[in-house]
């Protein structure tokens, strides 16, 4: 177990109302999410001495601006270019700064008009990736500009090698859509999915149809991390950060020719070692789900099912409530909302606090959860949380 294990905790989570068209700016949405997270923790803005955020293509607002309009002056602000895995990686940064004694309480947020404003992976200037990345000139001329195309290349090879079928992808979608029906704040609440409908839906980028792709929305999420000693002063039940692991693989940022490995394959061993637990100890999960197949690939990486058996694992209902690994229980990015992974982490925190106790949404008595991030196949950031 690592020295930092359980020395810091998530004490507040919050979001704004997700929608297709917010009619407002990322700053306004981030302020709402931050205020809600502060209220959840029983803290005030002046208690924050660190604020961090991640964004893609400048789609958010700077941490300094958020601090300005929360009316506080933190010691430290940090804005990174990121996406999937950034929630976990920024929480790791916060833990490091708290453990180093530099900061006490850090707010991390993601705010994006991901539907009405800048859509991730869409509407790129045709020369943008070519100018930005050495590999860009070797993908853009061939029409490859969408994550659905990039990850599809990994998915098709992996499915070919392991026997995962379109139906298996469908089981991931159907499991998460089922969760969304219990979550009134899920964007696809009231829109359940069955296998017949799923299989009849035409592909956008093979093997993905619209149900395999996350639901792009305007929304903001916020998380507050503080020291375990300060957590005692908060009104919420603390959820401790037990372990973490970052990892990169692949030589290029986008020209991914080696599709047989993903960064998560290498992060898993470090992650479990850092928390001193095993995959079979995990009771609830937040698994990055920008696309359905990404969930299947991570279940293999993080040891929840053996290579070649992941399809059967999800077909048996193990991602559903009552299964061996209830995952993305708010509906996930496939059906709740999409803030580059942060909304899944909010739900994991709420499950571990037993916020839903007495309702059918609660994963009964769960104490240990995993959050896995996936920026692309080349980057992983994961953490293990305990109550």
């Amino acid at each position: 177990m690592s020295t930092y294990s359980n020395q810091c905790a998530i004490v507040g989570v919050g979001e704004n109302q997700r929608s297709r068209k917010s009619g407002t700016t990322p700053l306004h949405m981030a302020l709402t999410a931050a205020r809600n997270a502060l209220a959840d923790a029983g803290l005030e803005a002046k208690d924050l001495d660190g604020i961090m955020n991640y964004s893609t293509g400048g789609d958010s607002c700077p941490s300094h601006e958020l601090a300005t309009y929360l009316g506080c002056h933190p010691k430290y602000v940090k804005d990174v270019s990121g996406g999937g895995s950034s929630t976990e990686l920024l929480i790791a940064d916060a833990v490091a700064l708290i453990e180093a004694g530099m900061l006490e309480t850090v707010l991390i947020y993601r705010s994006m008009n991901g539907s009405s404003g800048v859509q991730v992976g869409r509407g790129y200037d045709p020369n943008m990736l070519q100018e930005m990345l050495p590999g860009g000139s070797f993908i853009m001329p061939y029409g490859s500009a969408s994550p659905s195309q990039w990850f599809g290349m990994f998915a098709n090879r992996h499915m070919h090698e392991t026997g995962i079928t379109k139906e298996h992808l469908g089981h991931v979608c159907i499991s998460f859509y089922e969760h969304a029906q219990r979550n009134p704040n899920a964007f696809l609440n009231g829109k359940p999915l069955d296998m017949e409908t799923y299989l009849a839906t035409p592909d956008i980028s093979m093997p993905f149809n619209i149900h395999d792709c996350c639901v792009e929305l305007d929304e903001a999420n916020a998380i507050i991390v503080t020291s375990a000693s300060n957590a005692k002063n908060c009104k919420s039940k603390p959820v401790f950060i037990a372990g973490m692991a970052p990892r990169t693989t692949h030589s290029q940022v986008h020209y991914w020719t080696q599709v047989d490995e993903v960064a998560a394959d290498h992060a898993a061993a470090d992650l479990y070692k850092s928390a001193g637990v095993k995959p079979e100890d995990i009771q609830v999960a937040s698994i990055y789900d920008c696309f359905s197949w990404v969930v299947l690939r991570q279940l293999e990486s993080y040891g929840f099912a053996k290579r070649g058996e992941v399809g059967d694992f999800v077909a048996a209902g193990n991602l559903k409530l009552g299964g061996s690994l209830p995952s993305n229980t708010a509906g996930g990015m496939l059906s709740e909302g999409y803030t580059h992974g942060m909304n899944n982490v909010l739900e994991l925190v709420r499950q571990l606090r037993h916020d839903y106790k007495g309702t059918e949404r609660q994963v009964k008595d769960c104490e240990l959860g995993i959050a896995t991030g996936w920026a692309g196949p080349d980057i992983a950031g994961a953490m293990i949380l305990r109550n």
């Binding site: 050495p134 860009g136 993908i139 001329p141 061939y142 020719t257």
Partner: protein, 144 residues
């Protein structure tokens, strides 16, 4: 007189690191960067070797008779970049060169029925003249 149709798709951007590759492509040849220290091919080309970090690199001409196999592929039913709306569905593959299987070259598989494509299928490289002075390497299914 037929009306000249402008090429709408992104044209490969030549840079100091990659122009040898694209200059050769314009001549309908495949040329790959290679590490002078560890002899690993470097693709896409760059300022140093991603395998060993050496800045010493050279170029090797592989010619115009290039065969490969489909390592993975996707079929894309929507255009995400200009120009592709005319050619849907689009097949994009990463193909492993027969001469150097660790080198995987991404391109479209053109002139094919997407339903015919399978992982492991043999491919031949072809070059499509996209403007007066530029050509784009592409794959076609190797038949017969």
């Amino acid at each position: 007189m037929t009306k000249q149709t402008a090429y709408e798709k992104p044209i490969p951007l030549k840079t100091p690191d990659n122009h040898e590759y694209w200059d050769a492509a314009d001549r309908h040849e495949l040329k790959l960067q290679k590490c002078s220290a560890c002899s690993t091919f470097i693709h896409p080309p760059g300022p140093a070797c991603p395998t060993c970090g050496s800045p010493e690199t050279e170029w090797e001409l592989l010619g115009s008779d290039i065969s490969a196999t489909v390592y993975s592929y996707i079929v894309s039913y929507r255009p995400f970049l200009p120009g592709f709306q005319h050619e849907l569905p689009t097949v994009i593959t990463v193909a492993a060169l027969d001469a150097a299987p660790d080198v995987k070259i991404m391109a479209n598989i053109i002139e094919c029925d997407p339903g015919d494509v399978e992982i492991g299928m043999p491919l031949k490289m072809t070059w499509v003249d996209i403007t007066d002075d530029r050509a784009l390497p592409q794959w076609v299914l190797a038949r017969g």
